[in-house]
């Protein structure tokens, strides 16, 4: 019922905008037209030959996994980055967006998840900042408040504009940011970058009402989000990017959800039907005691309570789209964040104090998702990076001598096949795959019982990927309990004994033994 109504509504919206603005694909309806955009950074091609168009009165969702190129596309449009190739047309005119200020002057505004306004001054001041009305050489407060109130009224929001912005919820703050964009900057193109990540259902709906209002006024909205539900709730068209390339632009009403997920992941559903089940059954275990047991482990606003067991010698794969809570779960298990719900039991003992150093002591290791920011210590040598966690466990005064350090480092350089002339190289000079191996070595040196690998193969070349997958399987054979988090379905299926699926910060299913990619994608997309 719900779905049908939603579809109907969407249809009517399309019809409305269609009536008012003619056929949707007509060229003169495009406020923004980006053609053949290409952008490379040292070592990475962030965008390659991407076309994108935004029409008047359209809500256009941009979707893609990490590294798909969404943020680069937006940065190019807002002048933060200059494209290497391609052209941008605004209202049919060729433009070169030189800087974020320039893009604002052109009528392109961005509202981020974290509102960049001043929370300690009034709502009216925030809206009118830089455009305050003056009278007799001083600010005309009454007029300013009135203008601000009217501007908010345009979005059907009625709040006390003289109160500090900080008094209001994030949702209202976002509306204020949008109002400022409309009122002061006379925006034609509004970019909403993950605006709903910190909003609850009610607030999200409030925001959507505002978006619909703006849409009816002919403003083009680019909507970036990870939430599939919301995309289908509000977007007219969806552009899918993957690995810096355009997968396609689709009418939201004619793209089934599971197709969208498959496109984001780069899988072809038709092909998937033919993949045979290759995994063999694992022998059932009778005893209830598991090595690591999470019972209702969760953190409000971050991860809904999750039950998960991990046993020695097995690999549990975790799949889910970006923002589904996979990394958040890894952080909770490793003690980076302290859960406020449920319990975590390791070796039969309940963990009370959550921190990485505590996890290190009891034998839980994490290879973090963001290798550069959370993994390597770039300006230290490979040797120092490898012994870092072990040394942290030994403490301040039990210092590993240099020969001992070298011995450990050499052992793992050989064991994991790290390609380097010497263990005294700085780790930042290594390739991504080798850096990943160094982090793996860092943890293996501490001899952990549980190894959590968050996207261990991201951004590394195919050969190194296979090597790391093999390594993980080998480690499990040696009796380590591994958790393998990845957005690449096929590698999860290849290495895992069990697969758990996360969606919208919840664990929605767990498959043991036989499961195929199609089932997983359907589960991730919430369609049976």
């Amino acid at each position: 019922m719900e779905k049908r109504r939603e579809k109907k509504r969407r249809f009517s919206i399309l019809k409305q905008s269609g009536q008012r603005q003619g056929p949707p694909m007509a060229d003169d309806q495009n406020i923004v037209k980006m053609q053949g955009i290409g952008k490379s950074f040292p070592g990475v091609v962030a965008l390659e030959d991407v076309d994108f168009s935004l029409q008047k009165g359209e809500i256009h969702a941009v979707m893609g996994e990490n590294g798909a190129g969404k943020s680069t596309l937006i940065k190019v449009l807002t002048g933060v980055e200059q494209p290497d190739k391609g052209t941008i047309f605004l209202d049919g005119k060729l433009v070169q967006v030189r800087s974020p200020q320039h893009s604002q002057a052109l009528g392109i505004s961005t509202v981020y998840q974290e509102v960049n306004l001043c929370t300690n001054i009034s709502v009216a001041e925030n809206i009118m900042l830089g455009r305050e009305p003056y009278r007799f050489g001083s600010i005309h407060w009454r007029k300013m408040n009135e203008v601000a109130r009217n501007a908010l009224g345009r979005l059907n929001i009625d709040i006390d504009v003289t109160k500090p912005l900080g008094n209001y919820s994030v949702a209202i703050q976002q509306m204020v940011a949008i109002t400022r964009a409309l009122e002061v900057l006379s925006t034609k193109v509004l970019i909403l970058d993950e605006p709903t990540s910190s909003l609850d259902v009610h607030e999200t709906n409030l925001l959507f009402d505002v978006m619909r209002k703006l849409k009816s006024e002919g403003i083009g909205i680019i909507f970036i989000t990870h939430f599939l539900d919301q995309v289908y709730q509000i977007a007219d068209r969806i552009t899918v990017l993957r690995n810096g390339r355009l997968v396609g632009t689709f009418e939201a009403s004619s793209l089934p959800r599971v197709e969208l997920v498959a496109k984001m992941l780069g899988r072809n559903l038709a092909e998937l039907n033919e993949i045979s089940k290759t995994r063999s059954e694992e022998e059932e275990e009778a005893d209830v005691e598991h090595l690591l047991m999470a019972e209702g482990l969760g953190l409000a606003g971050v991860l809904n309570p999750v039950d998960l067991d991990l046993d020695a010698g097995e690999i549990v794969g975790i799949v889910g789209l970006l923002g589904s809570g996979r990394t958040e779960m890894a952080h909770l298990l490793f003690g980076v964040d302290t859960p406020n719900n449920g319990s975590l039991i390791m070796d039969g003992k309940k963990i009370n104090h959550f921190s990485p150093s505590e996890s290190l002591k009891i034998g839980i290791a994490l290879c973090p998702e963001d290798r550069k920011a959370e993994g390597i210590v770039g300006d230290l040598t490979i040797r120092e990076n490898i012994i870092l966690a072990l040394q942290a466990r030994y403490g301040w005064f039990q210092f590993l001598s240099k020969p001992k350090q070298s011995e450990i480092a050499e052992k793992y350089i050989t064991a994991l096949g790290i390609v380097t002339p010497s263990s005294d190289q700085l780790v930042k000079n290594l390739s991504g795959g080798n850096q990943q191996k160094v982090i793996l070595a860092r943890w293996l040196a501490t001899n952990p019982k549980v190894l959590i690998l968050d996207e261990p193969t991201r951004g590394i070349d195919v050969g190194a990927k296979t090597e790391i997958q093999k390594l993980v399987m080998q480690l499990a054979e040696e009796g380590k309990a591994c958790m393998f988090i990845s957005s690449e379905m096929d590698e999860v299926l290849r290495v895992s004994d069990r697969v758990a699926v996360l969606r919208d910060r919840k664990k929605v299913a767990e498959f043991s033994g036989d499961v195929d990619e199609k089932t997983l994608i359907h589960t991730m997309a919430e369609e049976e």
């Binding site: 002591k361 920011a373 993994g375 770039g378 300006d379 966690a389 040394q391 942290a392 301040w396």
Partner: protein, 363 residues
Amino acid sequence: MKQPSLLKRFRESRLFWPIVAWVIILLFNVIVEPGFFKLGVIEDPVYGKHLYGNIIDIFNNGAPLMLAAIGMTLVIATGGVDLSVGAVIAISAAMGAVLINPALGNKLITNDILTKNATNTPLPIIVLATLAAGTLCGLWNGMLVSRARIQPMVATLILMVAGRGIAQLITNGQIMTIYYTPYFWFGNGFILGLPVSIYIVALVFGLIWLLVRKTSIGLFIESVGINAKSSYYSGISEKNVKLLAYTVCGLCGAIAGLIYCSYVHSADGNNNGLNYELDAILAVVIGGTLMSGGRFSLLASVIGALVIWTFTVTVYSLGVPANALLAAKAVLVMVVILLNSDFAKKMVNRITERRGSHDKTAN
């Protein structure tokens, strides 16, 4: 065969530039005043025979700065900064002076008592209290930075401003002159003909070097300075590493305060150790430690401190008025920072490249 490799290693070592800078300043002095390096032996009524000369003075008077630079190195290596070193010097000096003051505990205070060469507090207590005061200051900074998560510059700014007030509160708003000969030994005494302060610096340097290089603390400090998040994820207690760095820095400031107060025979909350924090930061920068943290060298920082101190002495000896010293120092700062900047490196690269291409075309 070994000779060139040793030379090359020295050229690539982080000690190279600070030493070059120091040698240049020393050479300049010799040119201006040929007798600059002359050392002599003098008989002192209190401390006996000892060496005297410009170099001895530089080491003796530069001791507080060298100590401050040693402490500052650790703090900067963690990615922080300690702006309160000068204030800590003032607080420690005030602490020492007030304990020495014979008026302490006397009900009836006369001029006679105040200027007496005696004190009611045992010397070890005076020294310990001085050191404790500075260490406590460092601990406070460390708590603010590591536990309260206040940005280092802001956190230590609090003590930088408040510290001088605290120092004046301790001395009751007075510039306190002290008359207690045993205490003067720290800043004026001699052992085997060399100033005591040199031995103190050497001892502190040695102990802290052992602390950071013979335990894992040095590695952790560098690791935290390069990437605090990765370090935390590796199980390093990043908070305690920072706390330790600031505390040690406070202790170094206290020892500097002890020598300083002993040398000038007084405690002045407003002027003791004035601008020492800035000189210490500069010394660390000259020593090649990045302000963003990471790899550090204690020895390079000490040489950096010597560069600054020698520079200061040189400027004075040239007859530049004291109030113009800051301007002269600013020039030094500018040169050092420009040489360290990416801009300068790019320029140097461009010049060498151009020369390279020029050579090619010439051929």
